[in-house]
Amino acid sequence: MNLTEFFHMGGYAYYVWTSYGIALVVLLLNVILPLRQRNKLLGNIARAAKRTRRNTT
């Protein structure tokens, strides 16, 4: 099997690769979103902690 044939997918290239593409995007998104949320949360918590410390001392 050569590469052109592989990408051609027996005439269903459009359907097959769109499906796999969407799957990849969904899988990546669900890793990126919690990573970004974690950074945002930690940043917010650190800032809030600094603020309260400044106010109490």
């Binding site: 027996g10 359907y15 969407i22 799957a23 669900n30 919690p34 974690r38 949360l41 918590i45 650190a46």
Partner: protein, 246 residues
Amino acid sequence: MFNNFFHKMASPKYFYTIAGILIPWLAAGFVLLFLTGLYYGLVKAPPDYQQGDSYRIMFIHVPAAWMSMFIYVVMAGAGAIGLIWRIKLAEVVAISSAPIGAWFTFLALVTGSIWGKPMWGTWWVWDARLTSELILLFLYLGVIALYNAIDDKRTAARAVAILALVGVVNIPIIHYSVEWWNTLHQGPTVTKLDKPSIHLSMLIPLLLMAFAFKLYYAFVVLMRARCEVLDRERHTGWVRELAEKK
């Protein structure tokens, strides 16, 4: 000792640490299984005698659909444990599962639709299987919306658990929809009591992908659960320390 382990596990700080250690291992396992599954599914498996190469969408579609139901049951189960024993961590797992389940449901619906176009000649039909899966998506979205609508997280978690438990009735409906009603959707080929009517060369990538998705869910739900724990414990000393170290 065993009791002690569970007690420790239920402490948010301990959970956060253990989850942090588990995540990279589970992720590595997922990548390994996923790549092997892709190779077997896209390269090794022969074209279907009826559907040609279009059936390869199945290696995404079927595991995604399984996950959409599996995650729902986990979510409802964790919700029930949270309701009955008031275990915070169970609430966290339940609510962290919802968006992941919604994404898998979305993936199952979209890939099914893309498969349906060349095979059935239509993107969508309002038959039992497709409609009940769409309702599953709405249930997930309802859970997420309800959780965000209530300020007090513990009250929100209780409300969400009840909604999730009521929605469980939809799961057997999805599963048996292809047997109870006439539908365009094909019947089960793997989860039959007798021998699966699918060739080994196609069953292997399907199962690889199914296990890969399970591992994926495991590490992604832990990532989300860690965020939820941070958010809930934001006023505790250890979270502040952690945030300021970063």
